[in-house]
Symmetry: C2
Subunit: 370 residues, 2 copies
């Protein structure tokens, strides 16, 4: 199994030495934490990711998600691991305390995302999308919508998704055709098909809140006629309990290399009941809160995957013997020297290490400004 050492010393260096962050009293969330608390929190995430998530990475990818009778079954071990993730409060770190979050600064969330992605990107995408849905509703949703959904999304008991792409409309969302028809009581009936929906269906959580871009009947053409809707897998009763199943389903699983443990779904909405997030025809603006967070998240994913790749390349370069150093035999007790003696191997490893450390340092000013 690949090894993983969470880069905790790097995190400390970036926060304390590079950014001198504990002196920056005007930054949100820093008034209540210090280096000791940050270290303890990050150590907790390091333990969870290394002990629980990493062992499920390869097995989850080999087994993959399965679509059985319209329901997605995640790989063995994911359900139990996600239960512990929720119970340990991992989902709540940077969320608003009003809805049960810990209100920690975004730097903590960024480092946590790096560790989660490094150890198991497929698993990490379930709470990753959830956090984006939380943010979009938090910024753009009505008070009623916030009361209905945020606490459950913060805890991780429910998860979220991002429904933009249709088979004929990718980057060019102006072309999307999914329709929303008023259904009374500020409700709408959503119909259409979305593709490439990460975490679209699964068995990890009781409910899934789909954020779906669609057009109202009176919508102008193009991107100025797109609205955003929150469409739950199960309708939610007034007392917060789950009601009947909404008329939506995953109709297919799509292939994404290396993340077969995440359910990439074709989602079919058949007059599914949803509510507006933000104003009519202003959906793209609301969705951009989620999309921009996803964009930053993809950058962090790149770092996470690159760092665990580097760590294991380094182990291999030390263990694997091949040829002799140009400058003369370095390990005469072995039949050949380790790969590490070769200059070009060292150059490649140092390039990886430099890119990773540089990226890690660059991420944080971005997350502070976000």
């Amino acid at each position: 199994m690949p090894i993983y050492q969470a880069p905790l010393r790097d995190y400390q260096f970036i926060l304390s030495e590079l950014l001198n962050i504990y002196q920056q009293t005007d930054l949100r969330g820093f008034d209540e934490i210090d280096a000791d608390l940050t270290d303890a929190i990050l150590q907790g995430v390091a333990d969870f990711t290394t002990d629980i998530m990493l062992p499920l990475n390869a097995s989850g990818d080999l087994e993959g998600c399965k679509l059985v009778d319209g329901k997605v079954i995640t790989p063995k071990g994911f359900k139990q691991a996600y239960k512990q993730y929720v119970e340990d409060g991992c989902a709540t770190l940077t969320c608003d305390p009003e809805y049960g979050g810990q209100g920690l600064p975004e730097v903590i969330g960024t480092f946590a995302t790096e560790m989660k992605t490094a150890t198991n990107m497929a698993f990490a995408m379930y709470p990753g999308l959830t956090h984006g849905a939380y943010s979009a509703i938090h910024v753009h949703g009505s008070d009623e919508l916030k009361q209905k959904y945020l606490a459950k999304l913060v805890s991780g008991e429910w998860t979220g998704t991002m429904n933009l792409t249709e088979s004929h409309a990718g980057t060019d969302l102006a072309l999307l055709r999914t329709k929303a028809v008023p259904a009374g009581d500020d409700l709408y009936a959503i119909s259409g098909e979305k593709i490439f929906i990460s975490s679209g269906d699964h068995d990890l959580a009781e409910n899934i809140i789909h954020l779906v871009l669609a057009r109202l009947p009176d919508a102008p053409e193009g991107v100025k006629g797109i609205s955003l809707f929150a469409v739950p897998k199960f309708l939610v009763n007034a007392d917060g309990s789950l009601g009947e199943a909404n008329t939506l389903s995953a109709t297919g699983l799509e292939h994404k290399m290396g993340i077969h443990g995440n359910s990439t779904c074709v989602m079919h909405f058949d007059s599914a009941i949803g509510e507006l997030v933000g104003a009519p025809h202003q959906g793209l603006k609301a969705m951009f809160t989620m999309m921009n967070q996803a964009r930053l998240g993809v950058g962090i994913q790149g770092l996470g995957v690159s760092d665990i790749a580097y760590q294991n390349a380094l182990v291999y370069a030390k263990e694997r013997i091949q040829g002799r150093a140009l400058s003369g035999v370095k390990q005469p007790e072995q039949a050949a020297d380790s790969l590490l003696v070769h200059g070009d191997v060292r150059r490649m490893l140092l390039s990886q290490k430099s890119f990773n450390e540089g990226t890690r340092a660059l991420m944080q000013p971005t997350s502070i400004m976000a």
Copy 2:
């Protein structure tokens, strides 16, 4: 299904205009051919690859090879296609007429390899490795060995493999441990395990001739103590008929992305009977005839895959609509312009096209010198 247009006009241009090759009477194999014959042969290969090999590419990759009771079963359709490949004489193009080859110049083989790789690289690797084994025996084998094996390798009735890598010895062949022990009558008993053996076992041909690097008991250490052996799947009787099964087998299938239709095998040799190819301890030199041909072949594979990728990217860029041209609407009858109107898309496509055409032209002087 992906489209493929064999670049026959490019081939004509390179041969007639760029290299003026039909005037180069001192080049091997050109004294008996002219542009019409070359065109007809390349058209034949274009038809076979496009009509027979291309339709089996995706299905072969999805189905993959299977290892059942120690025998590899190739994907549906491969066996029939390979039978036709042999019957049509596709394997014989550039081989020595003394052993049934057509004696055509290597330029023909290079273009044929490009078309075969573009349409179905997994399938193309079965005859590809065979041609390398043919070359190594042709250059380094004894007359007896040539009589025994070459005609069947030229026709494609038997196929060949290249056995170098062991799990602890990749690039550094000095470390290899497979042993060869004299077994009388110029025969040797070969024992060891090889990995990543392309086409290591399959159901396409009656016999498979494994070229295997191993050490004799008195071998010096390092690369100067490596010998090359021809080790058949089935022993060959004096009259050329097949005898009993040799003591070797595929014990596992390995994963190589995109070529699941080719059997990448772990091969286990258990005192399997083989004969020397070339002199004792001179095996690496003999194997380099095969390895260098494989290296040139991998370059051609890169071109083949790149060209079919380009051809299909171009189709997609014309069909898929997305956004509007910066310089104004180009296709007002559509809801959006095609991808092709975007400058950066055109730049990427033209880069692909330029690399492919340049590579195709550069390959031929290399193959003429080879």
